[in-house]
């Protein structure tokens, strides 16, 4: 049996996995181009983890096909396992073993000779800033260190395709940034990544293309920019120094053609929907030249809820058939 020739690192067609009456995957199609990051966005229970588990040969799909690196998940699991790395939501390292021993073990299981496994473990510990903690048991690691060790473990075999299943869930912002940096480094080195996440912000940071899934179905896919435009971009929230000036500010913006401004007396905030950075400059410019005192400005990405709301309530848009032209991941 041979590999199918394709420039797509991951190709999934009509993937179905049911657990009793629960349709964890209900006909998922997606493609990840070689060397790109696909963000799979969805709420808890959307089927993200099931998708990753099927693609890692941990569970068998009920129907559909999936190829990773040209290997069939069902018929070529052993070859497929040599091409992938997996970092799950829960760190899959042996807590009792030291960081070094964990990595050495995986190197040996990947058939590296003893010396090479040793060298590779040392190299990855260094890279993930774990050298100092190398000899300590993993259970003494902080959450971020554990996640980094997990990432290092996934990288031992130099996988061509890396699955990251909610890699930053439960991490504090600083640790989250560390993980993001590492992922970006791996991508720069040519690794293809399939990333599942609940956070729009994470998808925007890391992904080239996005697939939004809900209840086991793809409800939208496309480039990050397109999808954001479809959703309505960001919200600028302005808090004036004098709350009494709120409605006055909104009127000025309307006069200058910025009509998307709304005011909430309860929160004391002026909100403006924007899609481009220039619009933010325009809002600040107008308020500044009119001499309003601004106490704070925040920009907020749409939350996952808002993304879903925007996608599912879009007139005429039926789930899974939205804008086929957006299907291609855009770098």
């Amino acid at each position: 049996m041979t590999r199918i020739a394709t420039e797509n690192a991951v190709e999934v067609r009509g993937l179905v996995k049911h657990y009793g009456n629960t349709k964890a995957l209900d006909g998922v199609d997606l493609t990840v181009r070689q060397g790109t990051v696909l963000g799979v966005l969805g709420p808890n229970g959307a089927g993200k983890t099931t998708l990753v588990r099927v693609l890692s040969t941990l569970i068998k799909p009920d129907a559909g096909t999936a190829y990773v690196g040209g290997f069939d998940v069902l018929r070529q699991p052993k070859q497929l396992r040599r091409t992938i790395g997996l970092t799950g939501q829960y760190a899959s390292v042996d807590e009792l073993l030291s960081g070094y021993e964990n990595l050495y073990l995986i190197g040996r299981l990947l058939d590296l000779p003893g010396k090479a496994a040793k060298a590779r473990a040392g190299e990855l510990l260094e890279r993930f800033s774990l050298t100092e903690a190398a000899k300590r048991p993993a259970k003494t690691y902080s959450g971020g260190m554990r996640r980094r060790l997990d990432l290092a473990a996934s990288m031992i075999g130099r996988p061509k395709v890396l699955y990251l299943d909610e890699p930053t869930t439960g991490l504090d912002p600083r640790t989250r940034n560390e993980v993001w940096d590492e992922v970006q480094r791996m991508v720069a080195e040519g690794t293809t990544v399939l990333l599942t996440t609940q956070y729009m912000e994470e998808a925007e940071q890391l992904a080239h293309g996005l697939t939004v899934i809900d209840k086991g179905r793809v409800i939208a896919s496309g480039g990050v920019r397109e999808l954001k435009a479809q959703v309505g971009g960001r919200t600028v929230q302005v808090r004036p120094v004098h709350p009494a000036e709120l409605s006055e500010m909104a009127r000025c913006l309307h006069d200058c053609g910025i009509t998307a401004a709304t005011v909430s007396e309860d929160t004391g905030l002026l909100s403006v929907q924007i899609t481009e950075d220039e619009e933010l400059t325009a809002v600040v410019g107008v308020l500044g030249t009119r001499g309003f005192g601004i106490a704070s400005i925040d920009t907020k990405l749409p939350s996952l809820d808002e993304v879903f709301l925007a996608i599912t309530t879009k007139p005429g848009a039926t789930p899974a058939t939205t804008t086929p032209m957006l299907k291609e991941a855009v770098a």
Binding site: T57, L58, Q79, S92, V93, D111
Partner: protein, 274 residues
């Protein structure tokens, strides 16, 4: 034509195209995983407590509490009970395998192993290898300690080794049952609980601790068919001298039968959980 097109596919492809692991690969994987299991003991020395202390505690308790009453003298009881205890050492250790396997499944580490290109059986075999090593420690302590208390090997060293081997062989057949429990029950505590419930009646409803002649008829019938009685008798005769064929044969038959039935079930169950 450029040099690049003359090159065949990248070197890794040939490696990738071959899904077979081979004996050497398998041995390397089992070795690496056994090393992991031993490192876990090193990191958590308390997990060796059962292997280290249970033989000592059982020996002291039974010899001094029941010894005189059962056999008239402690010396005689040592000669009677210790070989039986030696026989069940393998069984006790085997039951610990399930607990360990269960906790592996609770954490993500089993997922990691299952996404690696290794044979499924390597994980199970490495558990077995580590338990055998643990068992050897336990045997050494049991024999060493009871020798201090006065145990005499009336046959020879080879017969003693045979007794240890028989105990390990029987224990290894029980390992598969333990693995089945470990993969079927929800928590490590449940595995431990169920193991206790199974082992206690088997151990005490046998000829290990007391001769069966004073037991009521129904219990005598039970002890007669209890493989642990045969195991205790075999070990007793291997250490004290006596007819071997019958009891050893029964232990062998039990071990082979249990393995033949439960090993495929355990491997199938393991595959199913992938």
């Amino acid at each position: 034509m450029s040099a690049a097109t003359l090159n065949p596919a990248p070197a890794t492809i040939g490696h990738l195209a071959d899904p077979r692991i081979g004996l050497r690969g398998n041995l390397r994987h089992v070795g690496a995983l056994t090393r992991r299991n031993l490192m876990r003991i090193k990191a958590d020395p308390e997990s060796m407590l059962d292997a280290l202390l249970v033989p000592i505690i059982f020996t002291v308790l039974f010899v001094y509490v029941f010894g005189g009453a059962v056999k008239g003298s402690q010396q005689e009881y040592i000669q009677y009970m210790i070989p039986g205890l030696l026989g069940t050492t393998g069984l006790n250790l085997a039951m610990a395998v399930g607990t360990g396997l269960n906790s592996d499944f609770q954490t993500g580490v089993m997922d990691r192993f299952r996404t690696l290109p290794i044979a499924r059986s390597a994980v199970l075999l490495s558990k077995l290898a580590a338990e055998v090593l643990r068992g050897l420690v336990s045997f050494t302590i049991l024999i060493g300690f009871s020798t201090i208390l006065g145990l005499q090997i009336k046959t020879d060293f080879l017969h003693l080794l045979a007794a240890v081997g028989l105990s390990l062989l029987f224990g290894m057949s029980i390992v598969w049952i333990s693995m089945l429990l470990g993969m079927s029950l929800r928590s490590a505590q449940a595995v431990q609980g169920v193991s206790m419930v199974v082992i206690m009646p088997l151990q005490f409803g046998s000829s290990i601790f007391a001769p069966t002649s004073t037991m009521p008829g129904w219990l005598q019938t039970f002890t007669e068919y209890n493989p642990l009685s045969a195991l205790a008798d075999a070990c007793r005769n291997l250490i004290n001298g006596g007819a071997l064929t019958h009891s050893v044969l029964i232990v062998l038959i039990w071990s082979v039968t249990i393995t033949a039935i439960t090993a495929p079930l355990a491997v199938a169950r393991f595959r199913k959980r992938t």
